[in-house]
Symmetry: C2
Subunit: 301 residues, 2 copies
């Protein structure tokens, strides 16, 4: 079944201890869609770029059969650019610059055929825009939402309004603590369940992820990585693998969700092995499935 | 099969955000033996106390059928006392006082019948004493060792000599990083495998534990705890549950080890629910088994 993603398209300049790239393809909607494209074919992307957005990137998205009717191209505008540096702690980037450009005026407009998409991913954008997107869709089957510390700190009211309308919130451990004021992650997750989402998924980097509903608890392992090249896009790749699998199965049973969390974990683990989307460009579905079995073996007892 | 543990017996005074205790039963050998006693009956303890060590504690150990022939009682001496305070971060204690007393002159002497014990746990004592213990045992089947930042910082040479002679090192994440200088835990664990142990188990608190050998990787979940009363003794309770199960099964197959890590996780999760050994005093084997099934369910996919 189809997936709608609304997020950013960007040209990223990233430095890590192992190297650097400039103006490389990035953005939450791009990472998400590419990751989801390993699992399902009908992905509808809403994002905005300037007329400087390289045609080769458009061609790449089309090669993944991602529907880009909703990829707005602003003539005379420049694409969102982000520059960041990761030092030895690859868990958090220092932002070197943020040139919002056309992304600063982003007003998501869903093409008419997108309005009936059953699976919706609200990537990490201003929660007011997330609310706006939800007003444009017709009773989706599942709404999954991401957020970040910026919105928790600056747009809490709108964020809480958004949360009332989403089914699953995906966020990382520090965001869960910041959002709830709870240091204990189980307590933080339970508090989030009182704000609207019926499920919360907390990503813990090298420690895997946990998923809670009112009645279920799932602990997902991390793929054991010794080195990370570039963590940019890991969260969106996780979400893409996750929702891609859910949409391909077509239900939200606990079993499906658990498998989807593992698939999300795996696509993210591949994504961080190289800069930008380089690893995903050459990734094969068989590699995903092999790592899925390895991960299963690593938790069996 | 029998287990030998060499470690401390102590009277602990502990403050946490939820309460405090004074001169409560503690010490690595005590926590370990109690935890192991849920799984196996033949536990041989070597430790030292003063003549102020309350008879009720001796009676408690005897009630768990722990062999205390090796519990040395120094007439006119005082028992080791430790005082610590946990603030909101329950992962690390501030030491308020350390009165080594008779423990300061501890020279482990194994009673003759202990020398042939197949399973040996070297609790967190000076690595020179750990080496000394290994000289007193006859070809044990399995030697498991614990350590801490104090010995890593002050007795690294002796610690490395000990590691050459142990089969399994159990330590926590910060200790693994300190010992190896590796920030990545997988890299840290692999480095430890080059120092002697054929297996390393890294405890990660709320994130569970990982176990590595040259050819295997196991990721164990944590029991999802919302509140911790007192973390004192969690590591030794983990080790006790772990080795207790291994000794009860009588082999060190990967399957046995994995189950043992889960049992260790569970006994530790109970131990932190109350001060000192209070929770273990009333714990039933059926409760352990119930939590074992819950944990299995929380990782199933």
């Amino acid at each position: 079944m189809s997936i709608l993603v609304v997020g950013s398209a960007a040209l990223d300049s990233v430095e890590t201890p192992t190297g650097r790239v400039e103006n490389a393809l990035g953005g939450s909607a791009i990472y998400f869609s590419t990751a989801a494209s390993f699992f399902t074919e009908s992905i509808r992307m809403v994002a905005v770029v300037g007329d400087d957005f390289p045609q080769e990137h458009v061609a790449f998205l089309e090669s993944r059969r991602i529907n880009i009717e909703g990829l707005e191209r602003v003539e005379g505008g420049r694409t969102f650019r982000w520059g960041g540096r990761y030092t030895d702690d690859l868990n958090s980037a220092s932002t070197l610059f943020t040139d919002l450009n056309v992304y600063g005026d982003f007003q998501p407009k869903l093409p008419e055929p997108y309005r009936d998409t059953p699976y919706v991913f609200l990537a990490n954008i201003n929660p007011e825009l997330q609310l706006n997107v939800l007003e444009q869709v017709n009773r989706p089957k599942l709404v999954v939402c991401d957020t970040m510390n910026l919105w928790i700190n600056t747009s809490r009211v709108a964020l809480m309004q958004t949360l009332e309308k989403v089914d699953i919130l995906i966020l990382n451990d520090s965001e869960a603590r910041l959002l709830t004021g709870e240091d204990n992650l189980i307590s933080a997750a339970k508090k989030i369940l009182t704000c609207g989402p019926s499920r919360v998924i907390v990503k813990k980097g090298e420690h895997g992820a946990i998923s809670l509903t009112e009645t279920t608890f799932f602990s997902a392992p991390a793929h054991p990585l010794e080195s990370v090249c570039d963590p940019t896009g890991a969260g969106d790749s996780f979400a893409g693998g996750f929702l891609g699998h859910v949409a391909s199965v077509g239900n939200t049973a606990e079993e499906t969700i658990r498998q989807a969390i593992i698939y999300g974990t795996i696509v993210a683990s591949f994504n961080v092995e190289d800069f930008s989307l380089e690893r995903q460009r050459i990734l094969k579905r068989a590699e995903i499935d092999r790592r899925y079995e390895e991960l299963r073996e690593s938790t069996r007892y």
